[in-house]
C-alpha cells in the first residue's frame, strides 16, 4: 500500500490503497500541501479500503479548496471510493466522477 503523495508544483495527491483512519495523517499532510498549489488533482484509483474518516477529510479539503476558489479535479476514483461517498451522502460534495475514467 502506497503512501499519499503530493507534488507541490501541480498539487497532485494520490490516495493510498488503504485509505482509513489510522493512515490519514500522511493524506492530510499531502492535502494541506496541495492547497498551496494553483490547482489540485486527486487520484483515488488505487483506493481499496475507505472509511468515514477518510471521506470526511476529503470533504473538508474540497470545501476548503472551494472557499479559496481553487480548482480540484479527480484523476481517478475506485468503485470503493465512489460507493463509500455515495452511502455517506458525500458524492456531490466530493464531486466524484460518475464512472471511473479509463
Amino acid at each position: 500500500m502506497g503512501k499519499a503523495k503530493t507534488d507541490k508544483a501541480d498539487g497532485r495527491v494520490a490516495l493510498p490503497a488503504d485509505c482509513r483512519i489510522a493512515d490519514l495523517a500522511a493524506v492530510k499532510a499531502a492535502l494541506e500541501a496541495a492547497l498551496s498549489a494553483p490547482a489540485a488533482e486527486l487520484d483515488g484509483a488505487a483506493v481499496e479500503r475507505v472509511d468515514t474518516a477518510a471521506l470526511q477529510l476529503l470533504a473538508v479539503f474540497r470545501r476548503e479548496a472551494a472557499a479559496r476558489g481553487m480548482a480540484v479535479r479527480w484523476a481517478g476514483a475506485s468503485d470503493v471510493l465512489r460507493d463509500g461517498a455515495a452511502r455517506l451522502g458525500l458524492a456531490q460534495t466530493l464531486e466524484l466522477p460518475a464512472a471511473m475514467p479509463a
Binding site: T52, A54, G84, L88, L90
Partner: protein, 660 residues
C-alpha cells in the same frame, strides 16, 4: 448452519475448569487466613471463566449455578461485602458442587440435582435475591413502520473507537432503501481537522417494512457515542406489535434438555494429557537427531569395509543414546506434577482438623515432582487415607499436645522427591506415633500374631498393614469406612511400589511410599523356566540363591520351605505355577530368586537366569486377557514374547493356598 461442533472443545473446557476450581479452592483457603484483594480477583476470574464456558458449551445449569457464586464474588471484589468464614465456607461448598457437576457432565448425566439447586438458592439469598422459577423473557412492544426518519450525529470519538459510520449506514442499507444526506455544517477547516475525529452528521430516510428494534440494533454499540433520533416517516404506516424475538436467547434456560447429545459425545472422549510445548519441541529435536544418525548409518549399506568399523560402532552407540533419550522424553509426556494431587489436601486438612478439634499445619514440599499419569491417578486414594489417618490417629488435640510438652499446632508434611530412579512420597506427622502396646494387644485379639515375644518395632509397625487391623480406640466417623491400611498397601503395590512406616512413640510417624517413575517400562531379570522366558521385576528382587536339597523342608500339604537369613520362606516353582513344559529339575540344578511382594517374601524357583534388561510393558489384559500371576508381557530382542511375573499376585496366591 455451522460446521463447528462445540463438543470438540468440551475436554479443554473440563480440563481448564478443573484447574480453575483447584485454583479457586487454594485461593479460598488462603483467603480464610485473611488474604488480599488479588486472591478475590483470581477466584472471581475462575468462576467467571467457568460461567462463560458453561454457557457457551451448552451447560446452562452449570452457568446458572456459577452465576450466583459469581454474584457473591462480585460483591467481595468491589468491597460491598467483607470476607468472612461463612462466605469462604459457602464458596468452598460451591467449588465441590461444581466438581460434582463436571463429573456428571463428563458422564453425560443431568448436571443439576437437589443439592446444587439448594446451594444455588442459598447463594442467591446471600446477595439478596430470590430466584423465580424461569422468568419469562421481558417483552417490549415495538413499532413497525414502512419508513423511518433517522437523525444520526456521532460524537467526535466514535470513529476512533472502531465504529465506522460507513459501516453502520451500510447495515441500515441492508434493511431497506436508504437515502443519506450529510450534515456538513460542523466540519472544521483542513488545518484544524483531526482526521480521527468525527464532525459529520446524517439525516437518513429508510424505506421498507422495518421494525424500530431492527433500526435501533444497528446502533446498539454506539448508543452512548452519538445523538440518535428515530421517527416514523410522515405518512408511513405504523403498526404496534409485541416483540418476542431478540430476548429469548439471552436468558439461559434452566432445563437440561438441550446439551444431552453434546454431553454424551464428551463422555466418549478418550482421556487425554496436556503436554507442555517444550516437551514436544525436545521430542522433535530428538527425532531430528535420530534421522541424522539413521542417514549416517545408511551410508554403510553401500560402502563398508573394515576401515570404517569404528565409525559404524560410533554410529550405533549414537543411535543407542538417542533412542534412550527419546524413550525418556516420550515417557516424560506422561509425567505430570504431583501438585495436582497435593492440591486437594489443604482443603481436606482444614475440614478434618476443624471437625476433630485439632490444630494442624500442612506443609507441602516437592509439588513439582513429576509422576506417570497413571500412577498419579491411582496414588490419590492411598494418600488421602494416610493423611486422614495422620490427622485422625496420629496428631493429638491441643490439650494432649500441651500435656506432652508440644506446641498446640501439629505439623503434617507431605513431601515428594526423586530418589534413585524412583519417586518417594513421605507423609510425616509430629503426633503421638504408633502405640506399640495397643497394636500388639489388637493383633493378639485379632489373632494376627500368637505372641509378641521377640517382635521388633519394625515388625509391630508392619502389623497395621494386615487386613482388618484398626487401632482407633474410638471409632470416629472418619475411620471405619471399610478401607484399612491393608488396602493402602495393596494399592501401592499394584502400582509397583512399596510402603514403609517409621514411628517413634510421642514424636510422630513417617510413611514412606516408593513408586516407580513409570509403569510403561520396568527393569527386570530374565529367567528361563521350562524353556520359556519370564521376567521378574528387579524392584521386587532381594537376592538370588542356589539351594541344596538339605536346605529344603517339605511341609504338610506339599509346600516347600527354605532357610533364608533368619527365617523360613516358601518356595514357588514357577514351572508348576505356570504349568510349563519340560522336566521338573531338582532344586540343586536351578536358582531361587528371593522376592518380596505384597509385604511378604518368597522364593521363586527358576531353571536359569539369563540377564538383566529393560522391558517395555505390554498389557496382557488389553491384548489377550488377565492371567493370574502375570502382570504383563514384553517383546524380546529376537521378537519372541516373554511374560512378566506378578510377584505380589503370586505371593497372594501362595498365602491363600497355604491358608486353605
Amino acid at each position: 448452519m455451522s460446521t463447528v461442533s462445540l463438543a470438540q472443545f468440551h475436554q479443554t473446557f473440563f480440563d481448564e475448569s478443573h484447574e480453575g476450581l483447584d485454583a479457586m479452592e487454594t485461593a479460598l483457603l488462603a483467603l480464610d487466613g485473611g488474604g488480599d484483594k488479588e486472591l478475590v480477583h483470581g477466584i472471581f476470574r475462575a468462576a467467571h471463566s467457568i460461567k462463560g464456558g458453561a454457557a457457551t458449551f451448552g451447560f446452562p445449569d452449570m452457568a446458572a449455578f456459577t452465576h450466583e457464586a459469581e454474584s457473591l464474588l462480585d460483591e467481595l471484589r468491589d468491597g460491598r461485602r467483607a470476607v468472612d468464614a461463612g462466605i469462604v465456607e459457602v464458596l468452598l461448598r460451591s467449588v465441590d458442587c461444581l466438581r460434582g457437576m463436571f463429573a456428571r457432565a463428563q458422564s453425560g448425566q443431568p448436571l443439576a440435582d437437589a443439592d446444587s439447586e439448594a446451594l444455588r438458592h442459598e447463594l442467591a439469598a446471600m446477595v439478596g435475591r430470590t430466584l423465580a422459577p424461569a422468568a419469562a423473557p421481558a417483552r417490549r412492544s415495538d413499532d413497525a413502520a414502512t419508513g423511518w426518519s433517522i437523525a444520526f450525529r456521532p460524537h467526535r470519538g466514535m470513529l476512533a473507537g472502531g465504529n465506522d459510520a460507513l459501516r453502520l449506514l451500510r447495515e441500515l442499507g441492508e434493511l431497506g432503501e436508504l437515502k443519506a444526506e450529510a450534515e456538513l455544517d460542523r466540519l472544521p477547516g483542513l488545518a484544524a481537522l483531526d482526521p480521527s475525529e468525527c464532525h459529520l452528521g446524517w439525516r437518513l430516510e429508510l424505506r421498507g417494512d422495518v421494525t424500530r428494534a431492527a433500526v435501533q440494533s444497528v446502533f446498539d454499540w454506539v448508543e452512548d457515542e452519538c445523538d440518535l433520533t428515530i421517527e416514523a416517516l410522515p405518512g408511513a404506516q405504523v403498526h404496534h406489535a409485541p416483540v418476542v424475538a431478540e430476548a429469548a436467547a439471552a436468558v439461559p434456560a434452566p432445563a437440561a434438555a438441550a446439551p444431552k447429545a453434546a454431553v454424551r459425545e464428551a463422555a466418549a472422549t478418550e482421556s487425554s494429557v496436556r503436554v507442555g510445548i517444550d516437551k514436544i519441541d525436545s521430542l522433535i529435536n530428538l527425532v531430528g537427531e535420530l534421522v541424522i544418525t539413521q542417514s549416517m548409518l545408511d551410508t554403510f549399506r553401500e560402502d563398508f569395509d573394515a576401515s570404517r568399523l569404528e565409525m559404524l560402532q560410533q554410529g550405533l552407540a549414537q543411535l543407542a543414546r538417542h533412542t534412550r533419550t527419546l524413550q525418556e522424553s516420550v515417557m516424560g509426556i506422561r509425567m505430570l506434577p504431583i501438585g495436582s494431587v497435593f492440591n486437594r489436601f489443604p482443603r481436606m486438612v482444614r475440614d478434618l482438623s476443624q471437625k476433630l478439634g485439632k490444630q494442624v499445619k500442612l506443609d507441602l514440599v516437592g509439588e513439582q515432582t513429576e509422576l506417570d499419569k497413571t500412577v498419579l491417578e491411582k496414588i490419590g486414594d492411598p494418600l488421602v487415607h494416610l493423611v486422614r489417618n495422620a490427622i485422625d490417629h496420629g496428631l493429638e488435640t491441643p490439650d494432649r499436645r500441651r500435656a506432652a510438652g508440644k506446641g498446640d499446632t501439629g505439623t503434617l508434611r507431605l513431601e515428594a522427591s526423586h530418589r534413585n530412579g524412583s519417586i518417594v512420597v513421605e507423609i510425616s506427622d509430629d503426633g503421638a506415633g504408633l502405640n506399640r502396646e495397643a497394636i500388639i494387644a489388637k493383633a493378639l485379639q485379632r489373632g494376627l500374631i500368637a505372641s509378641a515375644e521377640g517382635l521388633t518395632d519394625e515388625a509391630v509397625a508392619d502389623l497395621i498393614f494386615q487386613p482388618g487391623f484398626s487401632t482407633a480406640a474410638v471409632t470416629t466417623d472418619l475411620s471405619g469406612r471399610g478401607v484399612g491400611m491393608d488396602v493402602v498397601r495393596r494399592n501401592v503395590v499394584d502400582l509397583g511400589g512399596s510402603i514403609q512406616i517409621r514411628s517413634v512413640a510421642g514424636k510422630g510417624s513417617v510413611f514412606t511410599i516408593t513408586l516407580p517413575l513409570t509403569l510403561a517400562i520396568i527393569d527386570g531379570l530374565t529367567a528361563l523356566v521350562g524353556g520359556e522366558h519370564y521376567i521378574v521385576p528387579l524392584a521386587s528382587i532381594i537376592e538370588t540363591v542356589q539351594l541344596r536339597s538339605e536346605h529344603l523342608r517339605t511341609v504338610t500339604g506339599g509346600g516347600e520351605l527354605f532357610h533364608f537369613r533368619d527365617g523360613w520362606l516358601p518356595v514357588l516353582r514357577l514351572q508348576d505355577a505356570f504349568a510349563c513344559h519340560g522336566t521338573r529339575r531338582p532344586i540343586e540344578q536351578g536358582l531361587v530368586v528371593v522376592v518380596e511382594g505384597d509385604g511378604s517374601r518368597l522364593g521363586l524357583f527358576v531353571d536359569e537366569l539369563i540377564g538383566q534388561q529393560q522391558a517395555v510393558v505390554k498389557s496382557l489384559e488389553a491384548n489377550y486377557r488377565r492371567v493370574s500371576g502375570i502382570s504383563g508381557a514384553t517383546i524380546l530382542a529376537d521378537g519372541s514374547v516373554a511374560l512378566i511375573v506378578d510377584v505380589a499376585g503370586l505371593s497372594r496366591q501362595l498365602s491363600r493356598r497355604r491358608a486353605a
